[in-house]
């Protein structure tokens, strides 16, 4: 099973550029999440989705956008990249919240903004 797949694995952007981080899962999970991880800061939730067509903001949504047109895909878009968005980005998914289920993570995208 592929699980949660993120592309690209690494990317360097210039300030002001835009890009889309891709996330796809093949587990038929309804719930999907985007996190960023900065050194010593744990994971912070950027956006999440409880199903196709439904998205909402997490703790740190500024500078990002998402869409969820299918159950499988949950892309994260960075508009006007800034150095503060240099981070490792993780996508995660889970099947349900009742009963509680753990989230499964992709391998991450390491993004540098120069």
């Amino acid at each position: 099973n592929a699980g949660v797949t993120q592309t690209p694995k690494f990317r360097i952007l210039k300030i002001g550029q835009s890009m889309t981080l891709q996330c796809t899962q093949d587990m038929n999970h309804n719930y999907m999440y985007w996190y960023r991880q900065d050194p010593g800061m744990g994971l912070k939730l950027i956006y999440y989705s409880v199903g196709a067509g439904i998205t909402d903001k997490g703790e740190v949504p500024n500078g990002y956008n998402v869409s969820r047109s299918t159950t499988e895909d949950f892309p994260l878009r960075l508009e006007l990249a800034a150095p503060s968005q240099t981070s490792v980005y993780f996508c995660a998914s889970s099947y349900s919240t009742i009963p509680d289920q753990p989230q499964h993570f992709g391998d991450g995208t390491r993004l540098s903004i120069l």
Binding site: G40, L45, S96, T97, I98, D100, F105, G106, D107, G108
Partner: protein, 112 residues
């Protein structure tokens, strides 16, 4: 504001030692606490705890939740170099979104 705090932030031990990692939480309408292990890439799931006082165990790793103290511990006995990783604790409230609030993580280094 919900928060999860882990301690210590980093720890260096030798193979064979026993370690205890701590996690305290303030999560509105708390429902569950999760532990993850993160090596080079994706965090991988270890335990999910919902009931106070019931120990979850997997090999040399075990974890327990104390709802009175709003805390959890993760124990690793007879540590091995392969246990070197960041250990993440996350709390979940009762909303149907499944959102997790993560602590800062504890970086464990096990020396041979």
């Amino acid at each position: 504001e919900d928060k999860v705090v882990q301690s210590p932030l980093s720890l260096v031990v030798h193979e064979g030692d026993t370690v205890t990692l701590n996690c305290s939480y303030e999560v509105t309408n708390f429902r569950s606490l999760l532990w993850y292990k993160q090596e080079k890439k994706a965090p991988t799931f270890l335990f999910m705890l919902t009931s106070s006082g019931i120990e979850k165990k997997s090999g040399r790793l075990s974890s327990i939740l104390d709802k009175k103290e709003l805390s959890s511990i993760l124990n690793i006995t007879a540590t091995q170099t392969g246990d070197s990783a960041i250990y993440l604790c996350a709390g979940r409230g009762s909303s149907n979104t499944g959102k997790l609030i993560f602590g800062q993580g504890t970086t464990l280094q096990v020396k041979p």
